[in-house]
């Protein structure tokens, strides 16, 4: 997973969301159709794709999709 756009594609493919690349910097609370269940499911998806655990505490404190991507890939 090299870019936040790939994370957005992953979410849209598996979570039923309709996120756009422009949503990468938005507050999670201001994403249409996004909620905390999506966040937890995304953590599971990221662990599958990356084939390793992601730092859940850091991801849960993320305020944007880019924050999530950054926390997941820099671990």
């Amino acid at each position: 997973m090299r870019t936040v756009e790939e994370l957005i594609e992953l979410a849209n493919a598996h979570l039923g969301t309709a996120l756009a690349p422009a949503d990468a910097e938005r507050e999670l609370t201001e994403l249409a159709g996004w909620d905390s269940v999506h966040l937890l499911r995304l953590i599971g998806l990221l662990e599958q794709v990356l084939d390793r655990p992601v730092p859940v505490d850091a991801v849960l404190q993320a305020r944007s999709l880019r924050d999530i991507w950054s926390a997941a890939v820099t671990a």
Partner: protein
Amino acid sequence: MAITLGPAADGRTAEPFARPVRMNGPHGPWERVRDAVGRHGSVVVYGRLPEWLPADLDHPRLGPLLGRDHARFRAMGHPQVRARFVASRLLLKHVACAVVEAAPEAVELAYKPGGRPYLRGLDQIDISLSHTENLLLVGLTRRGWIGVDAEAKDRPMLGLGTEKQVCTPYERSALAQIAEERRNAALVRLWTLKEAYSKAIGQGMRFRFTEFGFSPQDHNVQVLRPDGEPGTGAEWAFHTCLVDRAYTVSVAHFDAGFGDTSDTAAATMLDDGLIAALVDGTGEGHRAQ
């Protein structure tokens, strides 16, 4: 709809969580909400987004109604997000103002660093907000802390990897013993309880959901350690109910022992200087109908 919540450790209240009542819009009537808080100290109110969405989102009154939230609202681009934001804040403000007997414009909604809402200057009242689909949910207590959460009762959660992120070992074991056709609903219940508890303690999702749990039964509910041993005392009360036959709603309530402060009108709970700042300058203010 309002669910009256009794104080967790008050034996005088036979039904600490009772009587859901729906609120259909800003015009009330609000007596049931005030009565619930007067008798039980807490109330949970719910409504539907279309009923709380102003017809004109550019109406001049919306600015004073939303207060500091108005700038944030104006910066939002997505219609669905804007609608949810304004409708949920209006419900929250009207519930609070019905209880403190002030005009919605007179009470300021603020946020703690984790995003938890509170009423500035009304420290004896705690509030919580949740929404899912077009359901809006507000909890309010004058006895301690409150957290509420709502989720569609049939939202698919089972088998999607959520159990690993959500459940303690004890909960996973307990879920496995539940009939398969009821297992997803049980997981949704656990999820809403954890969200409600996390909101009540002001942690949101920063508090790992795998570090605390709940039992599958919906009586004498308490927080459990990962191995299933009790983790909280009688000062906490939890309840889950179904709303509109479609949504699982959970409430977490901590009785801080504030006592039976039955008069929560702003004029009683605030000092004179703050009252003067909150009312409309004439010293009269307005009461929610």
